[in-house]
């Protein structure tokens, strides 16, 4: 029997959290070591999994399945395919970087414990192939994030943390009812009560009306998480008030639990309903793109600006998902990972600015480029990747989404494209205000990037450039799973993908 690598991915951070929490209060450095070892071990495991993952495989790999609550037909069922593969790797790499690179300033031990619990929960969400298990992870993530925002955040942290918790939990309320209903309704087709994703998706045959209701229940929960307009209002608060580490994780992987859920538990489970709901979701996605971009332009706070840009970027992912073509969904999955890298890095840099200047108000920052040119250089590159400059990672995903959606959602794409332009506008304008010009007195002492910060950012930059220049290895691993997902959709509904010749 081989090593249950996916189970380890979930349990190693959890074990680290438990060990760290049992340490004495005084041994903060020991706690830090434990956190480092367990998060780096998780990161290495995820990379090892990536290497071992057979390119071209469309199904679930490294599956591990054990009975958990047999009375209720619930099992510990984990698996990874092309859609979740890079999200898992992103999680595995992002967490050690955050743990190494960002200083929470107080109560280090508790902070690290919550970080590790969070990592375990996020990993579990991306790997679960059992509806119940997925819900457990999806929901448990709220607790560490709540404490991370509420304890280590900025002035309005308690308000933001509570809002985050209540919003997401309210969304999940619908999903829980949806999950139970799905399992019970599928029982007729399967023959026994089961919460197994694959079993339900392959064997169940919901009546159109039923499937649509269930789909709505799931999608509400994911729409809050993504967040999709008009359920996005928790996000700017949570992002702005969260500590830098929390923001990076929130933008980097947590929001993806929503878009990933839409693919895995929305489209895959209820193909007919996904086709039916397509116009509404596409419209909301496009509104999110344009609204997020306009709102970002208006922001006075740099961190809030990046937060709203997230709303816009995630709109692209949802657009790609529900355009329901191979290219668009592949682009959406790419975009999930890319957004995690570039927006995560942006939040990191905003955090660095705050560390130096204790303000994030754009008007108070000016002329930083003159005093810290290397810092400005890093910011430029990351910003350009967020805008979607060709040659950098942001371009690949966005371009695939737009091109892939054109055939099935033409007018939505036309509207969404304005979002690309607006993205250039608000980011470049912000850059101009923060970095250009003559530095004011307060900004003259703005410290240049430190070695540690530079090393940290280099990892992000390397990922940005590599994926931008050579996305093929990623695409090769994502595409087969997307293709099989769409085949599933086509065989379970009367939807047919338009014939498009992929660019040779």
């Amino acid at each position: 029997m081989s090593i249950p690598i996916l189970t380890l991915l979930v349990l190693v951070p959890l074990a680290g959290a438990i060990v760290a929490s049992l340490l004495a209060k005084s041994s903060e450095s020991m706690a830090k070591n434990v956190a480092l070892v367990s998060s780096i071990a998780t990161g290495l495991l995820s990379v090892w999994m990536l290497i071992k993952f057979p390119t071209g495989s469309a199904g679930f790999e490294f599956v591990s399945k054990h009975a958990w609550v047999s009375e209720w037909g619930i099992s510990w069922h984990l698996g990874v395919d092309g859609i979740s593969l890079f999200l898992v790797v992103l999680t595995g790499i992002l967490f050690p970087l955050v743990i190494v690179g960002i200083d929470p300033h107080h109560d280090h031990k508790q902070y690290l414990v919550w970080m590790l619990v969070l990592e375990s929960g996020v990993m579990g969400s991306f790997l679960s192939l059992d509806l119940f298990l997925f819900f457990v992870f999806f929901e448990i993530v709220l607790v560490p994030m709540y404490f991370l925002i509420g304890k280590w955040g900025y002035d309005q942290r308690v308000y933001a943390a509570t809002k985050f918790f209540i919003y997401t939990m309210a969304g999940s309320a619908f999903m829980l009812v949806g999950i139970v209903a799905t399992a019970f309704l599928a029982r007729r087709d399967i023959g026994h009560l089961s919460f197994d994703l694959i079993e339900i998706a392959e064997k169940s045959n919901f009546a159109a009306g039923t499937g649509r209701w269930l789909f709505v229940g799931f999608v509400i929960a994911f729409a809050v998480k993504v967040p999709l307009f008009p359920l996005h209002t928790w996000l700017p608060d949570a992002h702005t008030q969260a500590p830098t580490g929390g923001s990076v994780i929130l933008a980097g992987v947590l929001l993806k639990m929503g878009t990933y859920g839409m693919l895995r538990f929305g489209v895959y489970l209820f193909p007919e309903a996904a086709v039916w709901a397509k116009p509404v979701l596409l419209t909301l996605a496009v509104i999110g793109i344009i609204y997020g971009a306009i709102a970002a332009t208006m922001q006075k706070d740099l961190k809030r600006l990046v937060a709203y840009s997230s709303v816009a970027h995630l709109g692209f992912i949802v657009l790609g998902t529900f355009a329901l073509t191979n290219q668009a969904i592949t682009g959406g999955v790419m975009q999930m990972v890319n957004h995690g890298i570039s927006t995560g890095a942006l939040f990191l840099m905003v955090g660095m600015i705050y560390e130096r200047r204790h303000t994030r108000v754009i008007a108070e920052l000016k002329g930083i480029q003159a005093v810290a040119p290397i810092f400005a250089g890093f910011f430029t590159l990351i910003m350009l990747s967020s805008i979607g400059l060709p040659g950098l990672n942001g371009f690949v995903g966005e371009f695939l989404v737009l091109i892939g959606s054109f055939a099935t959602a033409r007018w939505w794409v036309v509207a969404a494209t304005t979002g690309v332009i607006l993205a250039a506008l608000y980011l470049l304008w912000a850059y101009q205000r923060v970095f250009h010009g003559e530095p004011e007195e307060a900004n003259k002492s703005f410290a240049e990037i430190t070695k540690r910060e530079a090393m940290l950012l280099s990892v992000f930059v390397a990922a940005i450039v590599f994926t931008g220049v050579y996305p093929k290895p990623m695409l090769n691993r994502i595409e087969p799973s997307v293709k099989s997902l769409l085949e599933h959709v086509e065989s379970h509904s009367n939807y047919k993908q338009p014939e498009i010749k992929a660019g040779e």
Binding site: F137, A170, F184
Partner: protein
């Protein structure tokens, strides 16, 4: 004379099968007789006797589990008590909750300098009442149990002689509880009038033949309504809930824990048994009313919980909201056309078991924080607890998250069981309402957590707990996590109900 004596034939008694009750009774007698005839015992000894009694009763109940099924009677004492998985599991719940509550009480009384046998004797009496209620196979027997339980509770509520709030709460509870008992008894009378029996199974048989004595079903409906009102008071459903907050707040904190666990379990189990067995064929009549009560209880309980500033009042309203959740289980159990109706019963019983443990643990911590005098129960008393006493604060956090229904805690298993029952009988809207009410209530638990962890503590007050309280809290937190990670530990028993 000889003739008369011969005419009365006592029922055959299987003593072992009623041992859970007998053990409790023995404990009561020991405490009252030996306690009053001997000089004051060493500190905490009364509590040990009480705890051992409750534990013994729980062990006896567990041993009876394998006597169920083929070849064994399904009722005891001439059909007065039922003997089933349902009644045994509920009895076990009551015994466990009593044990945990006694541990909290023991430490509490030592701290307050009021250690004595009376309180423990009363708690065990309440437990006997509760056990009789959950096992009762006859409405009159059920009433006897209800009164035993209630009288003990009235006294316990008023047992803190130095706090005027305690006496006031006791009186209030007594007056309103008396009304509720009267409603219940009148309901029993009317149902008897309509069916000719007070035996739960005979009522069911009579109703299934569709014969209502006296030719009118109005009497039966009025009886059902009065029973529902009586039970509604006891389990505090909206709109019969108004006493709850005052009594919960005024009663000594460990007694509040007992009310929330043993009191609620006993009354709810009796309610479920009467409505799903005796009145099951009339479920079309009572189900719509219960649905309405459930929605009202869920929403109003949660909303009112959020605006409180005293933790005991918050928990009182949250207990109302939880009652609404359990009522959803009853709605599902009343769906007689569905093959899955049994899920409602097992869901409700699991919920009661889990909630009992949560509520005793939570109020155990509140009693520690309240300090000597049992007065510091405002939300601000919890400020900075995370700094001054992180272990206690962590325990409280686990229990609060469980009450909010966060996964990997027993509270989630409880909520899931109810939602499962509701969905399996196609009450989707009710399930959604219940979950949304849980989200509103979650805000309340977050408020307490914010106070503990995220507010800068005013002054780190010295909170100290005696060993028995610590043991009780540790057991509660441990069980909450164990059942959250391994729900099968509980489900293997409740799934067969």
């Amino acid at each position: 004379m000889m003739l008369a004596a011969n005419m009365f034939v006592g029922p055959a008694i299987d003593w072992f099968k009623i041992s859970p009750l007998l053990v409790m009774l023995g404990g009561v007698l020991l405490l009252i007789l030996a306690g009053s005839l001997t000089p004051q015992w060493k500190q905490g000894t009364y509590g040990v006797v009480g705890a051992l009694t409750a534990a013994g009763s729980a062990v006896c109940t567990a041993m009876l589990w394998r006597d169920l099924g083929e070849g064994n009677p399904s009722s005891l004492l001439a059909n007065a008590l039922s003997f089933s998985k349902f009644s045994l599991f509920a009895t076990f719940s009551v015994a466990v909750a009593t044990l945990l509550a006694i541990l909290v009480t023991s430490g509490f009384l030592v701290r307050e300098g009021e250690d004595g046998p009376e309180v423990f004797a009363l708690i065990l009496s309440a437990a006997i009442g509760g056990m009789v209620m959950v096992q009762a196979n006859d409405l009159i027997v059920m009433f006897l149990g209800l009164e035993t339980l209630s009288l003990a509770f009235y006294l316990l509520t008023a047992s803190s002689r130095w706090r005027s709030a305690s006496g006031e709460a006791g009186l209030k509870y007594f007056v309103l509880g008396g009304f509720a008992s009267a409603f219940f008894l009148y309901g029993v009378a009317l149902v008897f009038g309509a069916t000719g029996s007070t035996n739960v199974e005979k009522i069911a048989a009579s109703l299934s033949k569709d014969t209502v004595l006296g030719g009118s079903s109005a009497m039966l409906l009025a009886g059902i309504a009065l029973l529902l009102v009586g039970f509604g008071f006891k389990v505090s459903l909206v709109p019969f809930h108004t006493w709850t907050a005052d009594v919960y707040q005024g009663a000594p904190t460990p007694v509040t824990a007992l009310m929330g666990s043993v009191g609620k379990t006993a009354a709810f189990v009796a309610l479920i048994r009467v409505f799903t067995v005796a009145l099951s064929s009339r479920s079309d009549d009572w189900r719509p009313v219960v649905v309405m009560l459930a929605v009202l209880t869920l929403v109003i309980g949660s909303v009112l919980a959020v605006v409180q500033t005293d933790v005991k009042r918050m928990l009182a309203y949250s207990s109302i909201s939880h009652a609404g959740f359990i009522l959803v289980g009853l709605v599902a159990a009343g769906h007689s056309a569905s093959a899955d109706a049994g899920l409602g019963t097992s869901g409700a019983l699991s919920y009661l078991f889990i909630y009992s443990i949560l509520v005793v643990g939570t109020l155990g911590i509140v009693s520690v924080v309240a300090g000597k005098g049992d007065n510091e129960t405002s939300l601000s008393a919890f400020k900075g607890l995370g700094k001054s006493n992180p272990v206690l604060a962590m325990g409280m956090t686990v229990l609060l998250l469980a009450q909010a229904g966060v996964p990997l805690t027993s509270g989630f298993v409880a909520k899931f069981g109810i939602i499962r029952a509701a969905v399996s009988t196609e009450s989707y809207a009710l399930a959604v309402v219940a979950m949304l009410a849980a989200v509103i209530a979650a805000f309340l638990y977050l408020r307490i957590m914010v106070s503990m962890w995220l507010s800068e503590g005013a002054a780190s007050r010295d909170v100290a707990a005696t060993f028995s309280v610590k043991a009780s809290i540790a057991l509660c937190v441990g069980a909450t996590l164990a059942l959250g990670f391994f729900p099968s530990l509980l489900l293997q028993f409740t799934n067969q109900l």
